[in-house]
């Protein structure tokens, strides 16, 4: 008991000492304290925001088509739809199955342009809860009475909507489905407080009519009797189903999409960690400065009985306090940032992957704990090295030196050797293959190169300062000489600051090069992908997995227009191949087209490759497809199509950047043999030579009245495609901006600390005749030099990181071949902005320096 009491007293004493010696002095430097805490806060916030947004946009992924799917066990699917006969087969199967056929597509609310799932279910069998919702209390003879609602079940103009849409029963709405607008009446509203079941519901027959898909359903959901094993039941049911139909656990599509999105999420995570790395550099710098300033105090407390471990824990504790404060600040900041991030991510997910509706952002206890762990963990790890240095301070040496400056030693050559080793292993890692489809070695290479860059900073700072100080003195004046010498005098501190900013700049440069290369590759690729004069698609927001169709009658009318020489009917279906989503597409090879160059792995002319598809079971696959499924030209694919399974030979592989899902392309005639629906998803119109394209466009617009069709010229399409492309990278640009902001802010704070630590020198300068302007210039030149060093180092590091991004991470994550391209203007502009920002960050520290009282600082000793 006495021992416990003594222990408690000792603990309280330690805490008191910790507060007095470590924390209270920090409050006397509010700028440095604020900047350090904010650096941690932003790092935590960004990581948290990306995680929360990722979970909302994709992680707790809820495909739009899982809306109202209930808790079924199995689903039956087939490209192009499941024959209705399968419904009867399942319904009459000798087992108490609950069979729910569905039509599934998308509709756009004309008033709000909101795209929602359009789901057709057998309302009589299962939809009474929807049909009767909110209509029971209406007068019996009104349009919304329960009796009338049931009577209108099969009316394709009758729809039911979720309460989340905030539209009352009885309201008329215009729905864009494929290329037509339908005037519909809301017959009922079903409860949906969370908004997770927001959809447009109608009777299945009505849906078939409105979608013009007769004789087929899109999916059949099956609920097994209690106790029946899912896999066994699936195998048994498979035996009675046609060969071209697939039976699988319900929600498999969701799982497939979730896996597909994993690479995208991991890459975003990596980018978000860069802001944290920048914050880590700044924490390291702060604690290092703290150790240097407190050398005499460390000597005193050691002489008074503190152990080395006490000193170590004190500095780690200081770092942990920064981490905790930063984490708590980062939590609400991250939550706010997540709201913006989820919107940007949802755009990317929709454009590149799959239609989805972001879930709600959930700040769970786990997320909070994770944020705390990141904040404290990163801070403590960053502080480890300077804290260890503090614990090894010799008391007598520290006290004998008094308050004289102690210049922390850096072992430049040793650090350079470490840097070389890290770079070597980084290069090795970059050459390693993917692990389970993830570019883990690519990520490792990135980390190793960033670490190598950090270790090489002392040498870079020393060499460049030495090499340029003479020239700078001539060009800028003695202030530049002093600035250059100051940077090398506080080498450890300077190199950490340069490393922090360089890391942020490298991220900016590497992503800029990667995006620029990708963009240029897509632009070059598009030059040969768009041989037609005009392109048509149904109105509405495009998405990777949505392929609304154009009415057949409109298609025929367009083909018959004067000035139109040919119309290529393209059709696409979403399928699942080897458990991964893919697109099955067809083009009309009777339409002759000319191409400027080859986009195939074989390098053969496009006309030659396409001719091999005509009328045969041959296909072309896209590069992402080959990567995901490890196939190549000459291999055979077996696809479940229609009521059978058919084999197709891959004749070549095409470079494609339209979607990450990967596609299989065949001749239209071949596809119609298996999937007889002739309606096209897109039309490519070839204008007769000599005819005016604009005239033809006008004629198409005239005959398309009543349809919602978008018409693009090839230039329009290129612009639209690039617009979508740029939109998908909005989230990465946001992450870069945060990292650079954290770094520049950190530099500003560190500069204030530098000024305070150099007050003797700055005071002396005033004694020697330096004017206020010269003092200010000195600090700004130093900031400029630091910015220049960081830009240079960041540019070089960014170049190497971009090689890893382009040729390793991107390739292994998505399968795309990107041709390297320098976006010179973008990079120069970005580097200039960072450089100017760095100089501006020196403005406040410069004013602090100018306002120093030289009398006070000179006589401090």
């Amino acid at each position: 008991m006495a021992a416990l009491k003594r222990s408690r007293v000792a603990e309280m004493s330690r805490l008191k000492l910790f507060y007095r010696l470590m924390l209270r002095p920090s409050f006397r430097e509010p700028v440095r304290l604020t900047v350090t805490v904010l650096a941690v806060a932003f790092g935590v916030a960004v990581v948290l925001a990306i995680d929360l947004a990722g979970n909302a946009a994709a992680g707790s992924f809820h495909s739009s088509m899982e809306t109202l799917a209930g808790d079924n066990d199995l689903e039956v699917v087939a490209p192009g739809g499941v024959p209705e006969s399968v419904v009867a087969t399942l319904a009459t199967y000798p087992s108490a199955l609950r069979v729910s056929p569905r039509m599934e597509d998308f509709a756009v609310l004309e008033d709000s342009q909101q795209t929602l799932p359009l789901i057709g279910v057998d309302l009589i069998a299962e939809g009474t809860r929807y049909a009767a919702a909110q209509s029971d209390h209406s007068p019996p003879d009104s349009a919304t009475s329960g009796k009338h609602a049931l009577q209108r079940l099969t009316d394709p103009q009758s729809i039911w909507v979720s309460s989340n849409l905030h539209k009352p029963a009885g309201e008329k709405v215009s729905l864009l489905v494929n290329d037509r607008v339908y005037e519909c009446t809301i017959r009922g509203v079903y409860p949906d407080e969370s908004g997770s079941e927001n959809a447009i519901l109608m009777d299945i027959a009505g849906a078939q009519r409105i979608l013009n898909r007769f004789g087929r359903v899109d999916r059949i959901l099956i609920k097994l009797p209690p106790g029946d094993a899912i896999e066994k039941s699936a195998a048994e049911l498979k035996s009675v189903l046609p060969a071209g139909v697939e039976i699988r656990p319900q929600g498999t599509g969701t799982d497939e999409n979730r896996k597909m999105l994993a690479a995208f999420r991991w890459n975003l995570r990596l980018l978000s960690y860069i802001a944290l790395v920048v914050g880590a550099f700044l924490i390291y710098n702060t604690i290092s400065v703290s150790v240097v300033r407190r050398r005499a105090e460390i000597g005193i407390v050691r002489a008074l009985g503190a152990s080395r471990v006490d000193v170590l824990i004190a500095f780690l504790g200081e770092a942990a306090c920064f981490g905790v404060a930063g984490a708590f600040l980062g939590l609400p900041l991250g939550r706010v940032m997540a709201s913006g991030a989820v919107k940007l991510m949802a755009l990317t997910v929709e454009s590149l992957y799959v239609s989805s509706r972001p879930g709600s952002i959930a700040l769970t206890p786990f997320s909070i704990l994770w944020a705390l762990l990141i904040g404290v963990g990163v801070s403590v790890i960053s502080a480890l090295s300077p804290a260890r240095e503090a614990m090894n301070v010799s008391p007598t040496d520290a006290m004998a030196q008094g308050r004289r400056e102690y210049i922390a030693r850096t072992n430049m050559w040793r650090d350079l050797l470490i840097a070389a080793g890290l770079a070597f292993f980084g290069v090795l890692s970059a050459g390693m293959p993917a692990v389970a489809g993830k570019p883990l070695f690519g990520y490792l290479a990135t980390v190793l190169l960033i670490a190598a860059s950090g270790y090489s900073m002392p040498a870079l700072v020393t060499f460049l300062s030495w090499a340029t100080s003479g020239l700078l003195k001539k060009l800028v004046g003695v202030e530049a000489l002093l600035a250059a010498r100051s940077l090398t005098a506080a080498l450890r501190r300077t190199s950490v600051l340069v490393a922090a900013l360089a890391t942020a700049v490298a991220m900016m440069v590497s992503v800029g090069i990667m995006v620029g290369s990708f963009r240029q590759t897509v632009v070059s690729w598009m030059n040969d992908q768009l041989p037609a004069d005009l392109y048509l698609r149904p109105a509405g927001d495009p998405a990777a997995d949505r392929h609304p169709t154009i009415s057949l009658d409109l298609t025929e009318k367009i083909a018959a227009l004067p000035g139109v020489s040919a119309v290529d009917r393209l059709r696409a279906y979403e399928i699942s191949y080897q458990g991964k989503p893919a697109t099955l597409a067809s083009v009309d090879l009777r339409v002759l087209r000319s191409y400027r160059s080859s986009d195939f792995f074989s390098g053969r002319p496009t006309e030659v490759v396409l001719s091999q598809l005509r009328g045969q079971n041959n296909v072309i696959v896209s590069e992402p497809f080959t990567y995901k499924h490890a196939v190549k030209a000459g291999d055979t694919l077996t696809l479940a199509l229609g009521e059978s399974r058919a084999s197709f030979k891959i004749v070549d592989v095409a470079y494609d950047y339209a979607s990450e899902r990967g596609y299989i392309l065949m001749d239209r005639e071949t596809m119609l043999r298996y999937l007889p629906d002739p309606t096209p998803s897109n039309l490519a119109v070839f204008v007769t030579p000599g005819a005016n394209v604009e005239d033809v466009r006008r004629r198409i617009q005239e005959i398309a009245a009543g349809h919602r069709i978008l018409i693009f010229s090839d230039r329009d399409l290129r612009t639209e495609a690039i617009r979508i492309f740029d939109r998908t990278f909005a989230i990465t640009y946001a992450l870069e901006a945060v990292a650079v902001f954290v770094a520049v802010m950190g530099i500003a704070g560190a500069f204030v600390a530098l000024v305070i630590d150099r007050r003797r020198e700055l005071g002396l300068m005033r004694f020697l005749g330096a004017s206020s302007a010269q003092i200010r210039k000195l600090i700004l030149v130093e900031a400029g030099l630091l910015g220049f060093l960081a830009n240079l180092a960041g540019f070089v590091l960014g170049y190497f990181l971009s090689l890893i991004l382009v040729f390793v991470i991107n390739k292994q994550s998505f399968g795309w071949t990107i041709r390297f391209h320098w976006p010179v203007t973008v990079i120069l502009a970005a580097l200039s902005v960072v450089y100017v920002a760095t100089i501006l960050s020196g403005l406040y520290p410069a004013e602090v320096a100018v306002r120093l009282n030289p009398l006070g600082v000179i006589h401090e000793e």
Binding site: S486, G769, P854
Partner: protein, 225 residues
């Protein structure tokens, strides 16, 4: 006319509501080439007097005239000009910049003033203080006495009218301190610079022309040789 004149000068500071009188109605005239030693205990006002003389601080009452001009009338630019042209400072702890070589330290005031030929002038001053051959060394490679000589060379590089030395031998051993004092005396006479030195050193009284004993901000005794 005296190069430096204190006329009924007082200086007080307000610290946390308390008034501290650093100088109390002192008057002093210093001529060119005169070596003045200020002696007294810590806190008697020696350093304050030096700061007022160098226009680093300003009197609360009275007038400080430097070359006939009142220092209180100077704005920031005027003060800077004064320090560049008329005043040189020497400190107890030398106050050299460790990132610069000996030569660069001495050149610094000339470079700040934008003067031509700083190298030549710096080397000449290093010759005056008998440190030829050490121009390319760094301060940490020098002894205490050598560092103070560099500081003296720096203080004289722009040929100031007044040299203000605050405990220049305070961090030196006795024999080195004597060497420094002798050097200061010689340079004062040769360059016709007025030197005012605050010191605890007994040896200082042997080299100065005027000894001013200070106590509690006042002159106790002024002895001219």
């Amino acid at each position: 006319m005296s190069i430096l004149s204190f006329q009924n000068v007082s200086k007080h500071y307000d610290t946390d509501g308390q008034t501290v009188v650093a100088l109390n109605d002192i008057s002093l005239e210093v001529e060119r080439g005169e070596f003045v030693a200020l002696v007294g205990r810590s806190g008697c006002g020696k350093s304050t007097l030096l700061h007022l003389a160098g226009a680093m601080d300003f009197p609360s009452a009275g007038v400080v005239l430097l070359s006939g001009n009142s220092t209180s009338s100077l704005d920031d630019a005027g003060q800077t000009r004064l320090r560049r042209e008329k005043v040189g400072f020497i400190f107890q702890s030398f106050q050299l910049l460790h990132t610069l070589t000996v030569q660069e330290n001495v050149e610094l005031p000339l470079l700040l003033a934008g003067r031509a030929n700083p190298r030549q002038d710096a080397l000449e001053r290093l010759h005056w203080v008998e440190l030829d051959g050490l121009a390319s060394r760094y301060p940490h490679q020098l002894s205490g006495g050598q560092m103070q000589r560099v500081a003296i060379a720096r203080a004289l590089v722009h040929s100031p009218a007044i040299l203000l030395a605050d405990e220049p031998t305070g961090n030196l051993d006795t024999s080195t301190g004597v060497v420094i004092l002798t050097l200061l005396q010689r340079l004062t006479r040769e360059q016709k610079t007025a030197t005012i030195m605050a010191t605890h050193s007994v040896e200082a009284s042997a080299v100065c022309d005027t000894l001013v004993r200070m106590r509690d901000g006042r002159f106790e005794e002024v002895t001219r040789r």
